[in-house]
């Protein structure tokens, strides 16, 4: 066993010397297996879609993706993988990070190794503060929650109940919504926090129904919890009782909407991306994505992966191939891109993303359910900072 | 009455079923007392109450004039009450030497410092090991002292049962059918060991092998469905009509 490892190391070292010259390596740390396997799949598919569309070389340098599986919310695994990518594989960029704890754990590595790190999904506001070498192209929770409160008040709703998943991001969404909505004069009837490992939503939804609010604002992570909530929402007949359902895009996420079924029709949500977004960039993105993976429907995480690669390509182009940590960060600050979701910019001061947040309603469009955007709040900064 | 082990109106019942009925047994110092009775007379349940494995429904157990009814099994051993088991209850993967040394180290626990007990190597406990080896020699198990217990012959395992009980240097020794399963010829070796036991150990012997009982015991108590039928010398018991009746089944 020992001898095998030994010659493995020498081969690696030798190999690197040769390849370092002309390949730009992007180390992607993403959740490829475990409960959050679809996070990793979407992000890496999005990145591959960009490379399929724009070729795998820029400024004369070949771009190579090295995908590592962080197996789920496992900070020490993410940190170890990042360290190996930097020390062994000599990557020029770090990217990925579907979950916040993994991003936090890698921040010290990014700082020490001066490696530009692109966050493609993790949504807690404090991430970009953790290291001057972190830039985010996905979104922050507060950024998509505040517009929902503003729209709710504007559309005449005054009494709202909030239901959030009981964990860090859930608490942030609850407080952001409550602060924004009450500042405008609205009233939050009650706040419910639902356990993360929660197979049964019935009683919570029943409690909401019994307090008869005009609408209920919901934030739960995409996937199983969203499906569970929607089923209970429909089963308890809240729609029939006239209680509107407002949520962030996570609940009616493109990849999960089929599993929700017709119960999701009419749900109003705010998010930065919908597959039904009418723009040539989006159509091109969807076509490129289908070439990479025809089975799954791309969602906001795929766009995170796609725009992450766009930012990396732009940096490599401007630096003409020799990537240096500090120069790359200078370019990333203030960088403007036209993304499939619409115009986006990386804020020069906070290195966080500034983007349009759309208000959408779930409708059936030629046989499939989509979040159809009907209003846009432009250039929203992250209120969380 | 200098009874070293005594029960006072001991009762044990599982719901309606009375297994020990108002038993006042007393074991004199240095006695060779046998307890006999048909199967299901509650002999093993009695031993479990004496050793603390079972809590009696009422009544009390006294050792050397101290009430040990509520005491945990290991404390009773420390006070000198030791037992063997009817079915071999040994440590399969330990060797006889390790098992007996273990008992002696546990007995000397108070004398050893915490460090000696916890961190010094077992092989440094030379006195305990030698005492163990000597005891095994006495029970002619010396030549097998390094063999794993599970590999020992049944007869030898019966002797090891005895060795483990004796290693605790008991004042009172409860023998639960020591000859159980030992073929006729081989019980002499066992009898020899019993005979050689020093007189300051009081022994309560539970046994079916009447030849062993009448050769060994100086007093006999007959137990029938948990109650004491009669206690007396071997001669009295041999001629007592009630005993013959109970054993030969003509009785009530």
């Amino acid at each position: 066993m020992k001898k095998l490892m030994l010659c493995g190391v020498f081969a690696l070292v030798a190999g690197q010397a040769f390849a370092a010259a002309d390949t730009i390596k992007v180390g992607v740390v993403a959740e490829m297996s475990g409960t959050f396997a679809d996070f990793g799949l979407q992000m890496t598919n999005g990145a591959k879609a960009y490379m399929k569309q724009h070729g795998d070389s820029v400024g004369g340098r070949k771009i190579e993706l090295i995908i590592k599986d962080s197996t789920g919310p496992a900070p020490e695994v993410a940190r170890r993988l990042a360290q190996e990518l930097v020390v062994k594989d000599h990557v020029d960029f770090l990217a990925g990070f579907g979950l916040t704890p993994n991003a936090f754990a890698v921040a010290p590595i990014a700082t020490e190794a001066k490696k530009p790190t692109i966050i493609m999904n993790a949504a807690t506001s404090a991430i970009t503060v953790k290291s001057p070498y972190i830039a985010r192209v996905s979104f922050t929770l507060a950024q998509v929650t505040e517009p929902m409160a503003q729209w709710a008040y504007k559309s005449g709703l005054r009494k709202i109940y909030t239901v959030v998943a009981d964990y860090g991001p859930g608490h942030d969404a609850e407080q952001t919504f409550k602060k924004a909505f009450t500042r405008l004069g609205g009233e939050v009837l009650g706040e419910l926090r639902v356990p993360l490992k929660n197979p049964e939503f019935g009683p919570f939804v029943q409690r909401v129904k019994d307090s008869k609010p005009q609408a209920v604002f919901v934030f739960v992570p995409a996937g199983e919890l969203a499906v569970g909530f929607m089923k209970a929402y429909e089963e308890r007949g809240l729609a029939k009782a006239g209680i509107k359902l407002l949520s962030t895009g996570d609940v009616t996420d493109d990849a999960v909407i089929d599993a929700l079924g017709d119960s999701a029709l009419g749900v109003i949500s705010t998010h930065q991306y919908s597959a039904a977004h009418p723009s040539p960039e989006n159509t091109a993105f969807l076509a490129a994505y289908r070439q990479v993976d025809a089975k799954t429907r791309p969602n906001f995480m795929a766009v995170g992966g796609y725009d992450g690669m766009a930012a990396i390509y732009e940096v490599v182009r401007q630096l003409k191939g020799n990537v240096d940590g500090d120069k790359a960060m200078q370019l990333l600050k203030g960088m403007k891109l036209t993304s499939p979701r619409g115009p986006i910019q990386i804020d020069a001061a906070t290195r966080d993303i500034v983007q349009n947040v759309y208000v959408r309603e779930v409708k059936r469009v030629d046989g499939k359910l989509y979040n159809v955007e009907f209003e846009s709040i432009n250039a929203v900064k992250d209120p969380g900072k | 009455m200098n009874a070293v082990l005594e029960t006072r109106s001991l009762c044990k019942a599982y719901g309606g079923l009375a297994v020990t009925q108002n038993l006042n047994l007393s074991l004199a110092r240095g006695a060779r007392h046998a307890l006999i009775g048909p199967n299901g007379a509650g002999k093993t349940t009695l031993i479990n109450q004496l050793t603390g494995v079972l809590r009696p429904s009422s009544g009390s157990v006294w050792l050397d004039g101290v009430d040990i009814t509520q005491m945990a099994p290991h404390e009773r051993v420390a006070r000198g009450l030791s037992r063997t088991f009817q079915i071999n209850t040994l440590f399969p993967q330990l060797t006889p030497l390790e098992a007996v040394t273990n008992v002696i180290c546990e007995r000397e626990r108070a004398r050893l410092g915490v460090l000696q007990r916890r961190f010094f190597r077992l092989s440094q406990r030379v006195d305990e090991i030698d005492e163990a080896y000597a005891l095994l020699e006495k029970l002619n198990l010396a030549q097998d002292c390094q063999v794993e217990t599970r590999a020992l012959a049944y007869g030898k395992q019966r002797l090891l049962e005895m060795a483990l009980a004796l290693a605790a240097r008991p004042k009172v020794l409860l023998l639960d059918e020591p000859a159980a399963g030992v073929p006729e010829g081989e019980s002499d070796e066992l009898f020899e060991v019993l005979g050689a036991l020093s007189s300051d150990i009081s022994i309560l012997l539970i046994e079916h092998d009447m030849s062993l009982v009448f050769r060994f015991a100086s007093r006999i108590t007959v137990l029938v469905s948990g109650a004491e039928l009669v206690t007396g010398t071997p001669a009295e018991i041999a001629h007592d009509p009630r005993v013959r009746e109970v054993y030969l089944g003509k009785g009530h």
């Binding site: 490829m32 704890p101 936090f104 754990a105 | 037992r83 040394t101 273990n102 916890r118 092989s123």
Partner: protein
């Protein structure tokens, strides 16, 4: 037999006991190999530290499962308590690693002592579930107390000071690896001494036959509580080491997945062998890493096949198999000598 012969035979059995306790060549090679890793794999020291930490954590489970015979699915509770203790200390200005390590061990030990009364009741199954329940309750508490523990996002602002004021835990993990190796060796040697002492012998006798152990004067209940507390201390130290070397505390330190993986690693390595934990952890994590590099999405499939193969063809785990091989070799060699 005259005096001389008695002396000789008596010393013989003492020799056999001594032989069991002496440091075997395989053990020495094991620890030297770990030191060699520092020089041979300079770029993989972070991974090596994590394997060592998991091995130490598995050693603590071995004490409970291998030596005391208690099946537990919630051992991550103590690992997590150790990790969070160091994290909280660091957040409130206590940066010195060694003292924080000691505090973490004690806090975890206290938690072990308190929960041992719940855990030592009932049979194997109820014990499995009560340990699992305790683990899940702690996980929920950590998730709920977001302002203290940072909840699911993990604890931020964990700065660990230099070891002895000299060695910083940097990205390359050089000083971190030696620190972890030192602590792991000390605790392993400590446990090894414990297991070869009269106390260790009493633990083995409790596992072999608890009824008889009590009947020869061993306070089995107190002894099991004692070993459970000591195992909790080691688990707490392992958790603390992870926090100190990754300078971060994620809520997964308390997760059910960590306890479940640990149980699998120990079974793979072989229980009640002191080194089964380290071997099992190394094998499991190395194979998992290689497989996930080859196939990031479906490596679990190959790992599953490996587990089944080990169960069917390598009973007693790797060390069990190694034991049988070396015994066979020894028999063959003895066969040739006779």
């Amino acid at each position: 037999m005259n005096m001389m012969e008695i002396a000789v035979t008596k010393r013989h059995h003492l020799g056999a006991l001594k032989a069991r306790e002496r440091w075997k060549p395989a053990e020495i090679v094991f620890w030297l190999a770990l030191v060699a890793v520092y020089f041979v794999f300079p770029t993989s020291l972070v991974f090596a530290s994590q394997i060592l930490i998991t091995g130490l954590f598995a050693l603590s489970l071995d004490l409970i499962l291998g030596y005391a015979g208690i099946i537990t699915l919630g051992h991550a509770a103590f690992f997590g308590i150790g990790a969070y203790t160091v994290g909280l200390l660091a957040r409130h200005g206590w940066h010195e690693p060694l003292s924080a390590l000691a505090v973490a061990g004690m806090v975890a030990g206290l938690a072990g002592y308190l929960t041992s009364f719940i855990v030592l009741r009932g049979n194997d199954l109820t014990r499995l579930m009560s340990t699992l329940g305790i683990g899940l309750l702690l996980y929920e508490a950590a998730n709920r107390a977001t302002d203290i523990t940072g909840g699911v996002d993990g604890m931020q602002g964990v700065e660990i000071g230099e070891l002895f004021g000299l060695f910083r835990f940097d990205m390359y993990g050089k000083s971190a690896y030696l620190y972890v190796l030192g602590v792991a060796f000390l605790l392993s040697a400590f446990t090894r001494a414990l297991m070869h002492s009269p106390y260790g012998l009493s633990m083995r006798s409790i596992r072999e036959n608890r009824t008889r152990a009590q009947a020869i004067g061993i306070p089995a209940g107190a002894r099991l509580t004692n070993i459970y507390t000591f195992a909790a201390v080691i688990a707490g130290v392992a958790g603390a080491l992870l926090t100190q070397t990754t300078q971060f505390v994620g809520i997964d330190v308390l997760g059910f997945q960590r306890s479940a993986d640990l149980l699998i690693m120990l079974i793979i390595g072989g229980t009640a062998t002191l080194y089964g934990g380290f071997i099992g952890a190394a094998a499991f994590l190395l194979v998992q890493d290689q497989l996930s590099n080859l196939d990031p999405r479906y490596w679990l499939f190959w790992l599953g096949i490996l587990l089944i193969a080990i169960t069917l063809y390598l009973p007693g785990g790797l060390l069990g198999a190694l034991g049988r091989v070396s015994a066979a070799v020894a028999r063959k060699r003895r066969g040739e000598d006779a």
